[in-house]
Amino acid sequence: MIAHALTWRRERRVLPGFGLSLGISLTFVSLILLLPLTSLVGQLSQLSWSQYWFLITDPRLLASYGVTLFGAAVAALFNAAFGLLMAWILVRYEFPGKRLVDALMDLPFALPTAVAGITLATLYSSNGWIGRLLEPLGISISYTWIGIALAMAFTSIPFVVRTVQPVLEDLPAEVDEAAMTLGASDSHAFRRVILPYLWPALVTGTGLAFVRSLGEFGAVIFIAGGKPYETEITSLMIFVKLQEYDYAGASAVASIVLATSLALLLAINLWQGRFIKRLHGGRG
């Protein structure tokens, strides 16, 4: 085992450029990523624990955590359903305009978030194309949690579609056939056979959509309006504190945002790793 690892390592080092690529990568990562991030740690270390606690439990900020988490949860659940539907029809069915629909799925990643933000705010405002139709029904989307969830959902649409799509493509046709010949109905077969197979990809995609929604800023602020305690998201709170030159406050909030998203990302990676191991490890 060890001998094998050693020869493998020696073989690897046959290729040139180890020193150069290590040097360039480490320099870049240190200067662009790590140095700025340590300045956050530096700023926070000037605070005592009680000061830090006071800053991160400010009632207006606590309200923003609620607004952000709730909006992101709604957006992620919407995308779980919508993404599953889109992945399904794009893999399983043929219909005119399919290539166009497929390409359109990536629009939220390609479109700058500020553009998405002002567009959604305009569409759903009380005199916008959609807002105008909803107002007589007593539904307002601008400046409410619905608008926040909507904007978050828009920017994270590609995550579920693009994680589920390749897994569904790889699903062997025999699985369908076996389920159907056993006499199961469509919905029963889907729930008992297909869904368990797609589950890991679906959870991963939904998790990524959730993390992205938590951090979304540009798309949300225009439609949210930023009413304190009601439609203020946490990234906006960092921005507000910076405009008041409250660097300590902004850093404290940023540390919460950063820690939450890193923890979630790590959890998703571990979950995905375990799934891949189960998939490949079981059969060697």
Partner: protein, 275 residues
């Protein structure tokens, strides 16, 4: 062969629902951008486009892209080469580190740069004494954009280069080829589509970044406004048509990005069926 959901009724229902939702959530916003920009006619549209502040914003946005895309291209290639062709302690850690910009809110990215280079920051005093302006000037915008876009190229290359393995390159070494020759003649032809796609993604994000840039730019009209910031400022001034005019340029770039991606995927698929 029988497959789940193949009954015509089910199929029609699902396709119908999917198309309605796609039209509502994706197509309608896209149409709205251009409709709003052209609301007052094509003459006003051109007028808005040739506005001095808009032209300055376009210029600054191009400058940011012209610097960040090549830098991140070089970094991405070296990082991908490093983590897929060599084994060394800390390899996994390095791969995790470059995912940070994907996870953090762009506002946090802007903040950490402000803490480092701002007036009260670690380097702020030294920069002030030497009269170097980074925050609220274009170098700051370039730096945060580098931060936000650094994972894209590497993320496209790493899975592909891992899957391809290094056998071909090792053969080239045995034949006595130099490092640069190996990269140019062996590696590059294998990765050029993924590399191009990484560059397209980097460019789209570099041009469109808003949250991080708005923290470090200071929104000085004609000086530190990139196009997305210009969009925001015009919108806050209730100049809707002007805002959507600038937005339409960014939307056009987004459409080009999607078209380029579709073309790359189509070519890859065709090559796969050909072999």
């Amino acid at each position: 062969m029988i497959r789940i959901g193949d009954a015509p009724r089910v199929r029609r229902l699902l396709i119908g629902a999917a198309l309605v939702l796609t039209a509502l959530f994706l197509l309608l916003p896209l149409v709205a951008i251009f409709a709003q920009a052209l609301m007052s006619g094509i003459d006003v549209y051109w007028q808005n486009l040739s506005d001095d502040y808009t032209l300055a914003a376009i210029g600054l946005t191009l400058l940011v892209a012209v610097i960040t895309v090549p830098v991140n291209l070089v970094f991405g290639v070296f990082l991908a080469w490093l983590v897929t062709r060599f084994d060394f302690p800390g390899r996994r850690l390095l791969q995790t580190l470059i995912d940070i910009p994907f996870a953090v809110s762009p506002v946090v990215a802007g903040l950490v740069y402000l803490l480092l280079y701002g007036r009260n920051g670690w380097l702020g005093g030294w920069l002030d004494a030497h009269d170097i302006q980074i925050m609220f000037a274009w170098p700051g915008i370039v730096l945060v954009t580098l931060f936000v876009t650094c994972p894209f190229v590497a993320r496209e290359l790493i899975p592909l280069m891992q899957a391809q393995g290094s056998r071909e390159e090792e053969a080239a070494v045995t034949l006595g080829a130099s490092g640069w020759t190996i990269f140019r003649r062996v590696t590059l032809p294998n990765i050029r589509h993924a590399l191009l796609y990484g560059v397209i993604l980097t460019n789209a994000r570099a041009v469109g970044e808003f949250g991080a840039v708005s923290v470090v730019a200071g929104a000085i009209r004609g000086e530190t406004n990139t196009l997305p910031l210009q969009v925001e400022q015009l919108y806050q001034d209730y100049n809707t048509v002007g805002a959507f005019t600038s937005a339409s340029l960014l939307a056009l770039l987004a459409l080009l990005t999607l078209a380029a991606k579709a073309a790359l995927e189509w070519r890859a698929a065709r090559r796969e069926t050909a072999t």
